[in-house]
Subunit: 626 residues, 2 copies
Amino acid sequence: MMRSICRSYQTFLIICNSHIRRNGKRATSSVSWRTHNCGQLRASDAGSKVTLCGWLQYKRFDFMATLRDAYGVIQIVLPEDEVKRSLLSSKLSEANLESVIKVEGHVQRRPVAKINSQMPTGSVEIVAGELEIMNNCTETLPMQVHEHLNVTETTRMLFRYLDLRSSRMQRNLRLRSDVAMKIREYLWKKHGFVEVETPNLFRRTPGGAKEFVVPTHQKGLFYSLPQSPQQFKQLLMVGAIDRYFQIARCFRDEGSRPDRQPEFTQVDIEMSFVDKECIYNLMEGLVKYCWPEHLPDVITPFPRMSYQKALDEYGTDKPDTRFEMTLVDITAILQGCGIAIFESSPSSNFIIKAMTCPSGDKFLTKSTVDILQGNCKKLYNTNFLLVHVREKSWKSPISKHLSEKTKKKIMDTVGAKPGDLLFICAGPRETVNAALGFLRLQCAECLEEQGVRLRDPNSYKFLWVEDFPLFLKSEETNGGSDLESAHHPFTAPVVGEEHLVYSEPVKVKGQHYDLVLNGVEVAGGSIRIHHSDLQKYILEEVLKEDSSEMSHLLEALQSGCPPHGGIAMGFDRFVSLLCGERTIRDVIAFPKTSEGNDLMSGAPSSISQEDLDRYHITVPSGDSGS
Amino acid sequence: MMRSICRSYQTFLIICNSHIRRNGKRATSSVSWRTHNCGQLRASDAGSKVTLCGWLQYKRFDFMATLRDAYGVIQIVLPEDEVKRSLLSSKLSEANLESVIKVEGHVQRRPVAKINSQMPTGSVEIVAGELEIMNNCTETLPMQVHEHLNVTETTRMLFRYLDLRSSRMQRNLRLRSDVAMKIREYLWKKHGFVEVETPNLFRRTPGGAKEFVVPTHQKGLFYSLPQSPQQFKQLLMVGAIDRYFQIARCFRDEGSRPDRQPEFTQVDIEMSFVDKECIYNLMEGLVKYCWPEHLPDVITPFPRMSYQKALDEYGTDKPDTRFEMTLVDITAILQGCGIAIFESSPSSNFIIKAMTCPSGDKFLTKSTVDILQGNCKKLYNTNFLLVHVREKSWKSPISKHLSEKTKKKIMDTVGAKPGDLLFICAGPRETVNAALGFLRLQCAECLEEQGVRLRDPNSYKFLWVEDFPLFLKSEETNGGSDLESAHHPFTAPVVGEEHLVYSEPVKVKGQHYDLVLNGVEVAGGSIRIHHSDLQKYILEEVLKEDSSEMSHLLEALQSGCPPHGGIAMGFDRFVSLLCGERTIRDVIAFPKTSEGNDLMSGAPSSISQEDLDRYHITVPSGDSGS
């Protein structure tokens, strides 16, 4: 049994050890009672006097135990001497599992027959001379550390302090810390960046609908918690802090959204005297520098793709380029062939596209297809048309309306083979792209669930997406404008297209760029506007916003503002990809639920009348709104 | 004139250069348009083609200029070629001072007669081949960068982006960043600490009267912004993150207090399996490691002083040990001598003490003494009695009541010489200590204002203050208890005094320690309670607090909690001492006024009805409270 418990720590130990190796010899037992941690002793240490501290992982007949800490597990045995043995044994018998214990003793080699090669410390054991129970654990814990994977996420969050002891959470938090430090080392030490802390208590930004507010002693006046240090970093550029970074806490009040947190961390970067290429270079170097050693090497430079190409071929601005199944335009082939749905909306924006699901005929059942059709209708208000490509024929409602020549042409164009499924959509370009992009990812998941190795789990595909439009048609009319910024109002137009801002703003491309990793946006940034006139025109005339609230920025832009640009990396998301976790909650020490609740402490909570008075606010009684 | 402007940058440049030297060669021009910064070119670079970017610091006849960036200044000259010269000259003539300019050219040695030895780049100049005005500065700036010292702090804060260009703010922010990075390097790389980010949106802590609150979508429920990560770091210890640190943003709503900020930064540290000595070792190493090279070396270990001795000798728990003028007990000498004020309160707590101001007779005028007397009355509700020590006599109201023998005895005890002033206070011990401690510092300032070199500005005296009482008599009665924690309720009693908690809590000393530098508390911490029973007893029975709000912590303490302790360093304060600044506002990029206002952006500000509704709060009309 001991062997099996030890084995459950195997993966953890391998990572821990590679971890320590990677980062050189860090003194984990300096300035401490312990002389070594529980993972580091080897046969060559035999004879050494040691003091170890850790959690009681397992005990056997009160004379043998394993002690665990964040670095590993080690076997403890009681001495042969009967008096001593009986004294220590009675101590050990009082200790429940997960109690915290200090052991003083010496290292001894295990007999060859008892060497456990699964355990890094498996060739030695500690003969205890002294044993102290520093904190006895209650007998019944709400969850067992080694059963962490079998309990619900709610239990894990309620008892986070137990969940953190699991090898998985230890690895995640330690890797996160290492990556953050590597990023800082790269920016500060290699490139001369200055880390500047910017305020969290700030002024509400115009249109900042997702900002938390903080009441103050000054009646009716509120701070707001910024969504990013955007304004500050631009002001720092004006202030000659020409290379700024910060691993910054940001706040966003999005209500309940899956895998979002009301507070999150971003690696925030801004530089003067740069263009897009400089930022790309910097970031590619950064990713390489902080990349964990146990993952396959990153290849730079990263490929680039235009926003339009990403939409056309992948149906999304954050394409997962680990696999094909791209969207193919077959408008020219199908239009005019007499099928009603391909003719119904002959606007300039009308398009017919296909996405091929390889071997879909085998792996996608009728009921799966029905679910996909339902979701497609619900999310995009459109339907797809399905073609089962068979050896000699098509199985499809449109099969009989098409000549063999047309079918052949389609097959050649999309590259389909017998056994594949073709998803065909027709309609406005945006809808078709979005729906097929969604279907592409859904089909991929479906294939993988059935064992098809479509995306290599060890593949890390970075991609720059660029050439975004500067403005998008707004869904709501914001203060009279029908345009909104695709990124944010401070993004500069592409060089040479500045004049279009004044004449045809919807045609301007922005100097905005996103860094996508395996279909997830991990960073985004832009070259900023550094001329006051242009910034003012965009705020007032294009976006119809009240620029008076941004007067400090506009003034700064006419006080000698260097050309500048930057980027922000979603650090939680990036680390979760490195850890292979599906949710950012697993790389955050104390996360909140998607409803924003901290289950462990019970935040948020009600506050006293005294507090309400102190901040001059009241909570009106009555039905509880949203 | 150019020479004088350059000279004003002298100190800055020396610091910048030592700075760059200290931190090895950081690439400040990697991934950038510039090939060099404005401070790095030397005679050995002559002939190199360079591109420089910076702010136009000065120009002369439109054919000579100095360009400035964060790293230095350099002289630009236009080429001899007349066509080229006239073209560039007309560009230069359009640029106002503080405009941002890009210059491409080559480095040339200056003629010997024109070498400026005051300027690090003073042996070269750049012959411009191309010159581009990247951002023309408005003609009239609200403040000039080189006049930064002559403008009010209000102007500096209103136009912080200009103030940041000053050599002083550049030095302060860059030094701050360096010290933070060194601290991280020390903890992470040398001692295996893990940096963990803890939440800023948390649950209100019991008795946390200074916590800002944040309304949520959940009606009547609020987050609160924590004053420190105290609870989280203890939970991390329970969770086997045995070496935690964080350079953490903390929040404290103290209303208007001079030199406090509603948000501040602390270096937060916690370790398992340690005692006080371990923390002292760690911190002494940390201070040495991050200590700026241009300051005199730090000597470790730091001296230690008990809380009681600090109060008795310096009248404060954060003594400035750079100078003497300690408080001396003369009760035994003066009691019974027949002077009424020395007899009036014969309680066990009554004390008579003296503090000697050397040469005070010469440097403290009558009006100064009167001001001190007034402040003493106002702040401590007591008076002092003054003795002018003269060659042969005393000038003092008590002189005629005392025998020469008594006077001699007093002089010997306090070590006073002719020309000194003796400040004598009598009354309850706490009052006397506090008043004389205050007078000691006031006298020191007064002497220094008149040129007496009492405290070496290059002296950095660290001191551990320890053996604090665990509980203090509370000024207000909190929920029925007349005791409050001297530090916080999680501090452990001194080993061996645990039993006193249950019998005579007021006699227990705590394992709390403060690190004091030059009379300023720069860090404080403690060994924590790691047994649930003791923690519960203290919360419920000693402090009479509702422990149910801390149930998650109490539960954690019985789930296998290692013995642990930690410390938190006030980072803003520490950096301000290193920079020789009197206020922490000068080491914060975007500080708020002591009223909590951000003058540049206008925070805090009013918010919309929509926002109020969103968070289910109202601001009642009526007179504007506090």
